[in-house]
């Protein structure tokens, strides 16, 4: 099911384009188009212009072809806008189709009594109600979302996450949630259903990616109002111009007024606004994160404080060897060799990290002598090692080693042990033949590159906060190493909640990731809460996004996707408004040059004739929508930098670019129209 990932859906896949064209025509219905005031006005004007053009054509008036070509391009303007939206929806729909395949109508084994696994009746999965209990066995599909109340099983969740490695699901704890449509690979589970029919996680996800339940986000609503306001302003400017022109001795025809109005109102952003929003959600889905609302995606862009769990996000999940500290009088190389031999038999991640560290730092390749017997690590002895020809190498917890060798710690070992413990590490002792040679320091290893990542976030104005159960000393050491701005040590769920509230009271917006039930209050309190798909149902309900890969690191990318969405919206709005300046220089001289020949001086583009000037402006205005569809769908390129630098760059590209580009575009179209000989005679 990894085909739900967007990499496989080309920007303009033929099937999507075909369906998009059909949908684009359906969307011309004024009743639905009225939700988009700018494009609705364009359509009304297009209808008017076309009708007048047809009337002129029937009555044989000379200018009919002009009115009809203006009308045709106005229709194309509307069509391009609806097409952009249709294509964006099509891409989401393609993903939804593949998800829908996972939603099969299996038979569920409903238990009359959850404690009695042997008596059940078979019901169709859609008939299950919240509160019903079912038993699912190996090879069967989980019929609906629910909570494991008994049993342990491995579950293949690739239908949801695209990840084929099975995960463990068990009753109690943070791994008790199962999702409808996933498949048990082994064992059995008793599940209490938590979702009502039609509102399972999969159902909601399909609706979300399809955009079926798409509601305008707060920022979209605000932008719509601005665009509607600008449309009204230009309506005023164009309608009153009739009176002003009349006084000046110019009669303005409807096609000319229509052209002026439509090129001035912000059709570019009006036409692309909803496509940008849908595509933003889509980018998130492609990233295997599902947001429960567009509002959450916007909020992600606003976040300026990230709460990140230490383990798994900032550090690797396991502690690793960080240094070998020899006892007084022991050579470091000797200790390293002893460490390797003592760890050959230790298959835990810690043991492997010791071998890796020795290889990288001391160039020692583990070569256990022939005939040696390995002593594996066990939780009872807390030791591992190797015996060979009467000699014994051992490595383990310091007190275990000391009782194993039966002598007090030699000089330097006690100090080293204390120092390691103080700095937040775990000390292990190493002995050979009854003598303690030194100490291995196991510590949290900060993921490579994470420090640079945090520095990047800081430049973007985002503070990072590390959350850990470690004590303050340990936490402070790791915090310094990772370069986070703040940390919460010995964090309890209540601590997290309090911290979020305090930071919010300072006027900041907080994002966090979490999976446990006790994370739920904090997830709900945070402005953006990303719940892990492997987490509990409570956590998934509390968050406003679910990460299907259960990778808390992705919080950072979620924020970037939110920012990219907003930047794309702002860039195209700025571009759209900046475009207007050139249109005045194309159309105003064209319509008034007959009355005031001096106004030809405003025709800075030297457009060939008034009619070709007006038509060129209208054509440019329509084509720019199509030209920007890929940008709207893909999003403006985002690179992490401070707001000031970002603004400068985008203002230059989309503000200044928006001022200049149409001058060139309109001129080119005018040259082309005249080269085609459309305006002779």
């Amino acid at each position: 099911m990894s085909n739900i990932r967007a990499e496989t859906i080309a920007l303009f896949e033929p099937s999507i384009i075909g369906r998009g064209l059909r949908d684009a025509v359906v969307k011309l219905n004024p009743a639905s188009l009225i939700a988009n005031p700018v494009i609705f006005v364009t359509e009304v004007v297009a209808i008017l212009t076309t009708l007048l053009g047809l009337r002129d054509a029937l009555m044989g008036t000379g200018t009919a072809w002009f009115a009809l070509s203006i009308g045709a391009w106005l229709w194309l303007t509307v069509l391009f806008a609806t097409f952009a939206e249709a294509v964006a929806e099509g891409r989401g729909r393609a993903r939804a189709e593949s998800m829908r395949a996972a939603r099969t109508d299996t038979l569920a084994h409903r238990l009359a009594d959850p404690r009695d696994r042997d008596h059940f009746d078979n019901v169709a999965a859609p008939d299950l109600r919240a509160g019903d209990c079912v038993i699912v066995c190996a090879g069967e599909l989980v019929p609906s979302d629910g909570e494991v109340i008994e049993g342990v099983a491995s579950v293949n969740e690739s239908a949801i996450t695209g990840e084929s490695a099975p995960v463990i699901r068990e009753a109690g704890g943070d791994r008790s949630a199962v999702t409808g449509g996933t498949q048990l690979v082994s064992d059995w589970l008793v599940i209490r259903i938590t979702a009502s029919p039609g509102s399972t996680f999969l159902d909601r996800m399909i609706k979300l990616v399809e955009g079926a339940e798409r509601r305008k986000t707060p920022n979209e609503i605000a932008l719509d109002i601005l665009l509607a306001g600008m449309t009204i302003i230009f309506l005023i400017a164009v309608v009153t111009l009739v009176g002003l022109a009349d006084y000046s001795g110019t009669r303005l025809s409807v096609p000319v007024l229509a052209a002026l109005l439509v090129t001035l109102i912000p059709t570019t952003i009006g036409g692309l606004l909803s496509a940008i929003g849908i595509a933003g959600m889509d980018r998130l889905v492609r990233f295997n994160v599902v947001a429960t609302s567009g509002r959450a995606v916007e909020a992600a862009g606003d976040v300026d404080t990230l709460l990140l769990d230490k383990t798994g996000t900032i550090t690797f999940g396991n502690r690793m060897a960080g240094s070998f500290i020899p006892a007084t009088g022991v050579a470091e190389q000797t200790l390293a060799e002893a460490c390797v031999l003592a760890s050959v038999g230790d298959d835990t991640p810690e043991g492997r990290s010791i071998l890796g560290f020795a290889r990288d730092r001391y160039g020692i390749v583990p070569t256990p002598p022939a005939g040696a017997s390995l002593v594996a690590f066990s939780a009872n002895t807390r030791l591992s090692g190797l015996d060979h020809q009467g000699r014994a190498w051992r490595k383990g917890a310091v007190d275990s080693i000391l009782s194993f060798v039966g002598t007090p710690a030699p000089a330097g070992v006690t100090e080293a042990t204390e120092r390691v413990a103080r700095s937040g590490g775990t000390p292990l002792a190493v002995s050979v033949d009854g003598a303690v040679l030194g100490v291995i320091e196991l510590k949290d290893v900060v993921k490579p590159g994470i420090r640079a990542r945090f520095a990047e976030l800081r430049r973007m104005g985002i503070r990072t906060v590390m959350v850990t159960g470690d004590n303050r000393v340990t936490a402070a050491a790791i915090a310094t190493e990772a370069g986070v701005d703040d940390f919460i040590a010995e964090a309890t769920p209540q601590d997290k909640l309090d911290y979020i509230r305090r930071v919010q009271a300072e006027g900041r917006l907080v994002a966090m990731a979490g999976d446990g039930t006790n994370d739920a209050p904090a997830l709900a309190q945070a402005d953006v809460g990303v719940a892990m798909q492997t987490g509990t149902q409570a956590a998934r309900e509390a968050g406003n996004m679910v990460d299907l890969d259960s990778d808390p690191t992705k919080l950072i990318e979620v924020v970037e996707i939110g920012k990219q969405l907003l930047i794309t919206r702002g860039a195209l709005t700025t571009f759209s408004i900046a475009n207007d300046v050139s249109k005045y220089f194309a159309i105003l001289p064209a319509i008034f040059v007959a009355t005031y020949p001096g106004l030809a001086a405003l025709n800075v583009m030297r457009l060939a004739s008034p009619q070709s000037a007006i038509l060129s402006a209208v054509i440019f205005n329509a084509l720019i929508i199509v030209a920007l569809v890929p940008l709207a769908l893909r999003g403006v390129r985002f690179s992490p930098m401070g707001a000031a630098a970002l603004l400068r760059r985008n203002l230059l590209i989309y503000g200044l670019g928006g001022l200049v580009a149409p001058f060139i575009g309109i001129k080119l179209i005018d040259l082309l129209l005249n080269a085609l000989g459309l305006f002779q005679g």
């Binding site: 605000a222 302003i233 006084y247 104005g461 709005t573 203002l651």
Partner: protein, 567 residues
């Protein structure tokens, strides 16, 4: 253009900028309830005012309460002034026995003074008595200006804190703005004007015998005091019909320079006060710079246009520039400067005939009004006006930093955008709508003295001046006609109050929002980038609305003039 001319302009603008900073911080301290060095003197007066009127100056007012008080106060004063204008024939202090104004003209005049417009469809010498001048018009010059200052501070407070409902106390703001800001400055300027020879008398008009032996009635009156508040309060209504072109209002080049300072001082100080109120001086400085840079650009454009002679006039020395309609004691530089400042503020006092400016020079002053009277705008109205533009600029471009837009820690959302757009819509609706209707009706056309694009400019200027609450006249327009008296009064009302209502609602909405902390990720609104952006937004928004109309007026006239046609 001459070096001397530029030096005069630089001197005036330099003094304004230097004086605006301390006045801004003084006003901020005062309006936030702090003590100033005038408190020992005026404190008892202030407290007496509160006691007399039964006001608790610390009582908080939400935006509805604040706006309600402001509207009721202004409505009451409108009625009082209207009554005074209708009854002035029966009232004392009327040595010239001026009769009552017609209801239509009285309505227009009363509206004009309540809205801080001071559009004068009447003639000061013959139309109003001393009593009306002093107790009606002068008093309103104070009150309308103080209303503007009060509203500006109410709006500023909305940005200062998070999660509050109160915008301050309207009555306390009115008393403080009048008593501590307007009154002391007016008294100072009055003394300067009297020293320069501006009359301040209640005597009847003397009759002089001219050298040719003719008899001439010389209009006098308590001019100096009203002249001072006319400028300081950006009211602009002259005691005399010729306004500051009359030597009794503005006797010399030095005085006209002082008048230029006076009419821009308070508007330019308010952005600095805003910076203090919101606790970040850089924010105020950025707004000031936007205003200041655009004013300098406009002065340069206007001066350049006027310094060139009319190419249609032959046989004169072209280096003299366009002196038509200008006073020789001021010259071209100071006339251009005064014209730009009086239109950039919503003052509307004039020391030269804007109608006689070159087409492009006239377009500059007209465009200054159409840009929304925010450069630096009227006292108070300029500040709250430019804040609306700042919100819109932040809303459009702010998204490009990847956050939903916020200004000074306040999120700009649907409600704010709606209210800001409502406020912005009024100007094009009134100006373009009024002009278009006037130009296609016989009644409107009858008011025009000139034909062609010049006539269109005259009409456009009239409606712009009224809607922008400027009050200056392009002349050439007979304004005391049915359509224009009522229509322009409506435009003045809309321009003042139909923008103020949404702006106060906007302030109320912003005040309640939490104040978000800024950082490296938030849109910086204090640097040169924002200054440039806001300038661009003001120019593009204004240009997009009015370029079609301007191209049929001054632009068409300019190009026609270059090809040898005049209107």
């Amino acid at each position: 253009m001459t070096i001397a001319g530029w030096l005069q302009i630089a001197l005036v603008l330099g003094v304004v900028a230097a004086a605006a900073i301390p006045l801004g911080s003084y006003s901020a301290r005062l309006m936030q309830g702090g003590r100033t060095w005038l408190h020992p003197l005026l404190g008892p007066v202030e407290r007496a005012c509160y006691r007399l009127a039964g006001i608790d100056p610390t009582a908080p007012m939400g935006w509805r309460g604040y706006l309600g008080a402001l509207l009721i106060f202004n409505a009451a004063h409108f009625l009082l002034l209207y009554a005074m204008l209708r009854l002035q024939g029966l009232l004392p202090l009327n040595p010239q026995a001026v009769a009552a104004m017609s209801p239509r003209l009285a309505f227009n005049t009363a509206i004009s003074f309540v809205t801080n417009t001071n559009w004068q469809a009447y003639s000061g010498e013959s139309g109003v008595s001393y009593f009306t001048q002093m107790l009606g018009l002068t008093v309103h010059n104070f009150l309308s200006a103080a209303s503007g200052i009060a509203a500006a501070f109410a709006v500023a407070r909305a940005f200062a804190a998070g999660g509050v409902t109160s915008l301050g106390n309207f009555w306390a703001d009115m008393v403080r703005a009048t008593l501590y800001i307007l009154l002391p400055l007016t008294v100072m300027l009055t003394i300067i004007l009297i020293a320069a020879g501006v009359p301040q008398t209640l005597a009847a008009y003397p009759v002089a015998t001219t050298l040719q032996g003719a008899h001439q009635v010389i209009a006098l009156g308590p001019i100096a005091f009203q002249e001072a508040i006319k400028l300081l309060g950006t009211n602009g209504g002259g005691f005399l019909n010729a306004n500051s072109a009359h030597p009794f209002e503005d006797p010399s080049a030095l005085i006209t320079m002082i008048e230029c300072v006076a009419l821009t001082l308070i508007p330019f100080s308010l952005p600095f006060a805003f910076g203090e109120v919101v606790g970040d001086r850089r924010q105020g400085r950025a707004l000031f710079l936007v205003m200041f840079i655009l004013v300098i650009a406009a002065v340069a454009a206007c001066y350049a246009a006027e310094a060139a002679a009319n190419p249609l006039l032959t046989g004169i020395d072209p280096t003299g520039g366009n002196m038509e309609g200008k006073e020789t004691r001021f010259g071209i530089a100071l006339s251009s400067l005064f014209a730009v400042l009086t239109t950039g503020t919503s003052c509307g006092a004039v020391n030269a005939m804007h109608d006689s400016f070159m087409p492009l020079g006239g377009m500059v002053v007209l465009f200054m009004i159409q840009l929304g009277e925010v450069l630096p705008g009227g006292v108070g109205s300029g500040l709250y006006g430019i804040l609306v533009f700042a919100l819109l600029a932040v809303f459009v471009a702010g998204l490009m930093v990847g956050r939903t837009p916020e200004y000074l820690g306040k999120k700009v959302q649907a409600r704010e955008v709606k209210l800001a757009m409502l406020a912005v819509l009024i100007l094009p609706l009134t100006i373009l709508g009024g002009t278009a209707i006037s130009l296609v009706t016989a009644s409107g056309l009858g008011s025009l003295a000139n034909a062609g694009p010049h006539g269109l400019t005259e009409m456009l200027y009239g409606w712009s001046s009224a809607a922008g609450n400027n009050g200056s006249a392009f002349a050439g327009l007979s304004a005391d006609t049915g359509l224009l008296d009522w229509g322009l009064a409506g435009a003045m009302l809309l321009g003042r109050f139909a923008t103020l209502v949404p702006i106060m609602a906007l302030a109320g909405s912003l005040a309640q929002k939490p104040k978000l902390a800024g950082g490296a990720g938030t849109f910086p609104t204090h640097g040169p980038l924002f200054v440039g952006l806001l300038i661009g937004v003001i120019l593009i928004l204004g240009g997009l609305q009015f370029l079609p109309a301007l191209s049929l007026g001054p632009l068409a006239e300019q190009f026609a003039m270059l090809s040898g046609t005049s209107y």
